[in-house]
Symmetry: C2
C-alpha cells in the first residue's frame, strides 16, 4: 500500500510534497516567530482539482489539514501548532489571474495570487483593487478572504468579505463547492439565490473549506490623490478632524492615527526627518482620492477645524509615499526592538479614546515593564496594540487587553482573525449561542474536524 505521501505525490508531483525539515521549516513557523508547529508534510497543489484530490486522500487517511496562503498572519492561524500529523496545504501555486471582466468590473483569481499581483493586474486593466495592506507582496487572496483581512482601504471599500462576489472551495471530504456551470459563466453583479457561501467562508479561517478561487469586485481607478499628515492633540481630537473631513470631502480613502512615541521609534529606525515643523502628541494621516484633484476640498476641510495643529500635504507619488512611510514603518520599527505581542482589536468609535487608555492601563498592570506602541485605522476604531518587552507574559497581556476591549463593547479581532492566538478569548465577545451555532455549522461542513483544528474555536472543556 502506498503511503499518504506517495499518494499525494501522485497527485501533485513528488517535488511538491515536502517532508525534509529543511524545506518545510519556513511553512511551519509564522513570520513573527511566535507560532511554530511541525507538519508531517507540506503539499503544494497547483489547481482546484489537485486540491480536491489531496483533500480526498487526507480525509481517507483521517489526517488533519492546515491550509496556508502567504503565511503572513499574526494569530497563528496558518501554522500547524498543536496539530500532530498535519498535512500543511500551501495554496500559493494557485496564483493564476483571469482576464478582467470589464463589463462587470470583476475578475476571477486563484486563491494563491498575492494582493499585490491582483492590484497590479487590476491597475494594468484600468481598474483598482479595494483591498491593500502592508503584507501585500506575500499575502494571498485566499488568506485575506479566509481571515476577512482589512487594511488601509476599509474606510472606502470595506474588508476582504466585501470584495468577494463568488468563490470556489473544496470541502474536507474533497467535494468541490462551486456555482453550477463553468467558472467563466459567473459574473453576475447581484444575486439573491440561496445562502451566500462566499460570505460564510470569508472569515472562517480555513475551518469550513479550502478556498481555491475567488471572484473579486474591482473598484474604479482614482488617479488624483492627496495625502496629509496632521498634528493633533490626541485620539479624540483626531476623531473630530476625521469627522469634519468626512462630512466635507467625498473622496476620503484612508485615515490612520499614530502617536509621538511610535513616530520617535520610526524616526530612530529609519532616519526620517520630522513630518511637521512642530511636535504633536498624535498624527492623523488622511488620503483622499478622486477622478479630479481632491486637494482643495481637503485643504478647505482642514482649514475650518480648530483641532488641526499643523499639516504636511503631498500630491505627487514620491511625496505621498514619504508621508505614508511614517505610518507604514511602524511595524518594522517596533519589531527592531524585540518580538512584540501584537493585538488587533476594534471598539465602538465612541469609546475609542477611553478604551485606548483602559487597554494601556490593563496591560501595564500585568506587565509593568512593558512598552506599548499603538496605531489605529481611525475610521474603524481599529487599534493595533503592540506590546514590547513582555514576550514571556504574552498570555497575561492578551488576557488583560482583550478583557478591556470587551468591557468597552469592542471586538477581540478587527482584521487579523482569531487563529490559535485568540481562540480561548472568543467567548469574550461572541455569546454561547453564537459559538454553538458556529460549531453546528462547522460540524455540518467538516463533521470530522479535519480542517485547521485548533483555529478559531475555543478549546472545549
Amino acid at each position: 500500500v502506498p503511503s499518504l505521501a506517495e499518494r499525494l505525490a501522485a497527485i501533485v508531483g513528488a517535488s511538491h510534497v515536502l517532508t525534509d525539515p529543511a524545506l518545510t521549516a519556513s511553512y511551519d513557523v509564522d513570520w513573527t516567530g511566535r507560532f511554530r508547529g511541525r507538519a508531517a508534510m507540506v503539499v503544494r497543489p497547483r489547481s482546484t482539482s489537485e486540491v480536491a484530490a489531496v483533500l480526498g486522500e487526507c480525509a481517507a487517511a483521517s489526517v488533519p489539514v492546515v491550509p496556508q496562503g502567504g503565511n503572513t498572519g499574526l494569530v497563528g492561524g496558518s501554522v500547524p501548532v498543536g496539530v500532530p500529523r498535519a498535512v500543511l496545504l500551501s495554496l500559493r501555486r494557485l496564483s493564476w489571474l483571469d482576464p478582467v471582466d470589464h463589463d462587470a468590473g470583476q475578475v476571477w483569481v486563484g486563491a494563491g495570487a498575492t494582493i499585490a499581483a491582483v492590484a497590479g493586474h487590476a491597475r494594468a486593466a484600468g481598474w483598482d483593487f479595494g483591498l491593500d495592506f502592508a503584507a501585500r507582496d506575500s499575502a494571498t487572496v485566499g488568506g485575506a478572504v479566509a481571515t476577512n483581512a482589512g487594511g488601509e482601504r476599509v474606510l472606502r471599500h470595506g474588508p476582504a468579505r466585501a470584495q468577494v462576489l463568488g468563490v470556489e472551495a473544496v470541502l474536507a471530504d474533497g467535494r468541490l463547492v462551486a456555482r453550477a456551470g463553468p467558472r467563466g459563466a459567473g459574473g453576475v453583479v447581484k444575486e439573491s439565490a440561496g445562502y451566500d457561501l462566499g460570505a460564510l467562508l470569508a472569515g472562517s479561517e480555513g475551518t469550513l473549506a479550502v478556498l481555491t478561487a475567488v471572484r473579486l469586485r474591482l473598484v474604479p481607478a482614482l488617479p488624483s490623490r492627496v495625502v496629509a499628515v496632521v498634528g493633533v492633540a490626541g485620539t479624540a481630537a483626531a476623531q473630530r478632524v476625521l469627522s469634519a473631513v468626512r462630512r466635507r470631502v467625498e473622496g476620503l480613502a484612508a485615515a490612520e492615527l499614530f502617536h509621538a512615541d511610535g513616530l520617535a521609534l520610526v524616526r530612530a529606525h529609519t532616519g526620517l526627518p520630522p513630518p511637521l515643523g512642530s511636535e504633536h502628541p498624535a498624527y492623523l494621516l488622511v488620503e483622499c482620492a478622486g477622478q479630479s484633484d481632491p486637494t482643495e476640498a481637503l485643504a478647505d476641510a482642514l482649514d475650518g477645524v480648530a483641532e488641526v495643529g499643523d499639516a504636511a500635504v503631498a500630491t505627487d507619488p514620491p511625496g505621498r509615499a514619504a508621508l505614508w512611510r511614517y505610518r507604514e514603518a511602524h511595524p518594522e520599527a517596533v519589531g527592531a526592538l524585540g518580538v512584540p505581542v501584537k493585538l488587533d482589536v476594534s471598539v465602538p468609535p465612541t469609546a475609542l479614546a477611553t478604551a485606548e487608555t483602559a487597554i494601556r492601563a490593563a496591560v501595564l498592570a500585568v506587565a509593568p515593564a512593558a512598552r506599548l506602541i499603538v496605531w489605529s485605522h481611525l475610521a474603524e476604531a481599529n487599534l493595533h496594540v503592540n506590546v514590547l518587552f513582555a514576550e514571556s507574559l504574552a498570555e497575561q497581556v492578551s488576557d488583560a487587553a482583550l478583557n478591556a476591549v470587551a468591557a468597552h463593547g469592542g471586538s477581540i479581532s478587527a482584521e487579523h482573525g482569531i487563529g490559535r492566538a485568540k481562540a480561548r478569548w472568543l467567548s469574550l465577545t461572541r455569546s454561547p449561542t453564537e459559538i454553538a451555532v458556529m460549531r453546528a455549522v462547522k460540524s455540518a461542513l467538516d463533521p470530522r474536524g479535519q480542517l485547521n483544528p485548533g483555529a478559531l474555536f475555543p478549546p472545549e472543556d
Copy 2:
C-alpha cells in the same frame, strides 16, 4: 392543558393571536394575489424576547413557523403556501428605532421597522440609508435582509447584506443569537472574530433563524442630486452610456433602463407627457449625487457620448421625482393590465442584450399570446421581466425564462430571493454540492425543519 393559541396568547396578549379568517386573510396572501396559503394563526410579538418565547412554544408543539415582515415579497416566501398548521409570525410590531450612533455611522433597528421609517430616521439625524426600493413604505428591514433585497441604490451602496453590521435573531428552538454583552455594546465598525452569522442569515429567507433586530450601516447624506433621462437605441447603447458616465462621474447613484413599450403603458396609465421631445427605443435614467452639484460633470459626460439621442435633466426635487415617475410607475402600469408573472433575474453584464433577447424568445415560444414588459437595474444587469396574459402558464413561462437565464450564466434571482416561486429551479444555477452544503447548514440550525418549510430549497424527491 392550554392550547398552543392559548400559550401564545399568554406571551403576546390575546389580541395579537389572530385566528379569525377575516383577520388573518391579509397575512395569508401575498400582495400580487398569486400566492395564497392558510395559517392556523397569526402571531404578532412586539419584542425579541416574545419572539423567542413564541418560537420555543412552536418548537415544543412541533408546529412550523412562517416569518413575515411587510409581506411585499414577489416569490411567495412569506406566505404559508403548502404549510399546514403553520404559525405565521408577523414581525411588524418590532418597529423600534434606536438613536443613531453618529461616531460609528450606524443604528440598531427592530426587524419590523419599514425601509421608509429607517430612511426617515437616518435623514432626520443627518445621514441616509443605503437601501431603497418602491415598496419602502411597507417592506421591513427584517424582510429586506432576509431576502437580501436590492433596489435602486445597489450600484452605489450594495444590496441589503452590505448594510448589515450585526444581527439579533432567534433560532427555531427559541434560543437567541446575539453578540455577547448588551445590545448597546455593539457598534464596532469592523470585526473578524468568527463566522459572520449576519452575512449567513442575509438572504436565508427565514429558513435558518428569525431576525429580530439589525444593526445597519448608514451612509452620508448627499444633498446635491441630478436626474437625467436619456433616449438610447437599445440595451447595448445604454450600457455604453452608463460606462462613460461611470468612468467620468464619481457620484453615480442609480442607473435604470426601460423601453418604449413600458413607457407607452406608463403614459397610458398615468397620463404623463413624453419625457423627451423625440421617441426612442429605450430610455436610461441616471441619478448622480454628491456633496457638491454633480450636474456639470454629468452633462459633460453625456456630451461626449455618441449614443445619447436626447436628454431631460432635473435638479430640483419635484423635477427629479417627475423623471423617476416614468420608471417607478412601471409596476402599477403593468399591473393594471392583469396579474403578471414577475421574474427578477440577473445575468453577466456582458451578456445582457443577448440574454434579454433569448428570454423574450423563450417565453414567447411557450406563451405566444404573452406580452413582455422588461425594465432593468442596468449596472447590475438585473432584469425585471414582467409577462402579461400568461397567468395560466406561469410555470412554463418561468421554466423557459429561467433556463434562458441560466444558459447565459445568470442567476434566477437577483434581489427578490427564491421563496416558493422559484425553489424548483434553484439547481439551475446552484450546483448539487452547493445545495448539499446549504441543506447541511439548514439542518445544523433548524434540524427539525420548522422554519419556513418549502421556501428556498427545491422539493426533495
